[in-house]
Subunit: 373 residues, 2 copies
């Protein structure tokens, strides 16, 4: 019997890959592997510039996972037969520049800088001119910024493609169908013994790892909800930016992530609309408006792709990772952090990390929400 | 031997269809029939609301072709086996409402109304409130409008699809390749005797009808240039508008065209960039910005399609239709008016219209640009 991973996004595939590397027999089930939120995601590995006032646990998880990314990327590239090192998944570490557009945005940035300082985070406060020295394509109206030089980013579509290749090389089956139900012994609260597939077939499992993102709540009683994000990709003949730029334009947030191949990702809306993945005129308009304000040169770039994905949100924005009763392990609820947190999550599920008191395993534990049924 | 139509856009296909109906053997050559500008076009049949100060000849041509549209659509639907009448190509005649957003736009609208009045055109000047009574989804800030109740619109993609079906039913060959050259007897100025296809094959013709739109200048010495238009299609669960709405938002023009199937077309940019068909962040942004100002409800609509097409522009914005030396007939240069002017153009080429002094044939005549080589 095998361990069944429900969900072939970046989290589920990473878990499957780490388990397979450890010699454990696994099977992944997903109707559209590497689709969903991982396909939409920009791939920022930015625990520092993403820090917010109430989310210190998330910061600690993010920093822990960011430290794992270089080795994770290098091992993955090797396993998938990609070019040596981390280049195969376009892992880049030039840092994130967080800029302010209006006077209101600058005030918020100054407060954030003070908060980061208190946390001892390595950020540098820059003037508008200093920002433009680093990124000459920034608008003259940018008033100031914060440079988080430790932040990094990666191309999530390359990561999931590499994970699928690595799994194929290890002969891990990917069952391309939907799981409709977890199978339990002795009714609703019993041990999980497998999954039911669309059409009725049953797949037996020693353990089920639930990594179904926004769809997790439909399969187990986890407090996960879909948070819609619309995101667009532009094609840039030469790169406009050398690092990730995040910005606040009169309180509205936008980020721009440059890729090695000339792609510039502009994201992302945050909408609480249930399972709605429509790309809308309004979502697109706001992204284009704010991106133009920060980097006017985007106007000339070609539109390559627009998608909407569903982030799996939790009540405290911290993922839900760990055992939840006999035969069930959760690896879900990663919200905006699935790409950043995939290496740590996979290590936790594979037993390669965690354990220490107050450490990542404790922070992510399903137990904080009581019994999961 | 056959007449060869170079170009399978709405003009070329209409010409081919009218000739085939008249029993004349024709062949159409186009690498992508029903693609290009016809695929991008919104399909407004709006000679009145499109009138501008310097273009009275174009107005006369437009009015003449608009009168032909109902019969053209009905005959086409019958020939293509579509539902009876004009519904098969979604021909609608609820008129065009031209609205003004800012005070500057209103001043321009008032001047236009006076000019239309002088021309004796049947338009009605409305207050902002009257506009909203006709179209309740218009923004409260719309200050006034002009209703051109004679204007109409059609779905160009349905028209070209119907034309292709009608041609297929009449066994008209469509050669899906590119014409690289017109073949002439006795060198550069001789009689046109056929076309050379990509790859080198030659197709002999009694007459060549050049309907290659923006690509016409590459085949004959016609003063036609590409004018890029970006246009987007939104999906509307229920219709937001009952008629075409054109608007001026601080001098920037936008139009919204509702379809029977819930599609709402928003167009279009006008850019002089050569043969560039990239959809850009800036083009999309401007369309969304102006459409939102006029009809805020578009924000909620799903993006269905974005394309860029190339209008064939001429120095005087009037098409170039008629004989141009032995063996060559031109049917090109329709700029913004290809859909509106297709029935008239086809009738002119088929000899079903024209002739009278100062009439359409004279207005469109290639002779106004001297010798065409």
């Amino acid at each position: 019997m095998v361990e069944v991973i429900v969900g072939g996004g970046i989290v589920g595939l990473s878990v499957a890959w780490r388990l397979a590397r450890a010699g454990r027999p696994v099977t992944v089930v997903d109707p559209d592997p590497a689709g969903g939120a991982s396909h939409a995601a920009a791939g920022m590995l930015a625990p520092v510039s993403e820090v917010t006032y109430t989310e210190e646990p998330l910061l600690r998880l993010g920093l822990a996972s960011l430290r794992r990314w270089p080795a994770f990327a290098a091992e993955l590239a090797a396993d998938a037969g990609l070019p040596e090192g981390a280049g195969g998944v376009d892992l880049r570490a030039e840092g994130t520049l967080d800029v302010a557009f209006g006077a209101d945005d600058l005030a918020a940035l100054d407060e954030l800088a003070a908060f980061m300082d208190k946390l001892g985070l390595p950020v540098e406060r820059l003037t508008g001119r200093e920002c433009r020295r680093l990124e000459p394509m920034l608008a003259p109206s940018v008033r100031g910024g914060l440079l988080a030089s430790g932040d990094a980013w990666v191309d999530p579509r390359r990561v999931t493609a590499a994970l699928l290749t690595a799994l194929e090389r290890r002969a891990v089956p990917i069952v391309r169908t939907r799981v409709t139900e977890l199978l339990r012994e002795d009714g609703a609260a019993g041990r999980v013994v497998g999954v039911r597939l669309e059409g009725g077939a049953e797949l037996a499992a020693t353990t089920v790892v639930l990594a179904a993102g926004a769809w997790s709540a439909g399969l187990a009683g986890v407090p996960v909800r879909p948070v819609k994000g619309q995101i667009l990709r532009l094609r840039s003949p030469q790169p406009l930016l050398t690092r990730c730029v995040r910005g606040s334009v009169h309180g509205s947030s936008v980020y721009l992530v440059p890729r090695g191949d000339g792609e510039l990702v502009v994201g992302a809306t945050q909408e609480e609309l249930g399972f709605d993945t429509r790309v809308t005129a309004g979502g697109l308009y706001e992204l284009l408006r704010d991106a133009r304000e920060l980097v006017p040169g985007v106007t000339e770039l070609e539109l390559a792709d627009v998608v909407a994905g569903l982030r799996p949100g939790t009540p405290d924005n911290v993922p839900i990772v760990g055992p939840a009763g006999d035969g069930l392990v959760l690896a879900t609820g990663h919200h905006r952090g699935g790409v950043l947190l995939a290496p740590l999550t996979a290590a936790l599920v594979a037993g390669e990390a965690g354990g220490e008191e107050g450490g990542p395993a404790a922070l992510c534990s399903p137990a904080r929400f009581g019994e999961i049924a």
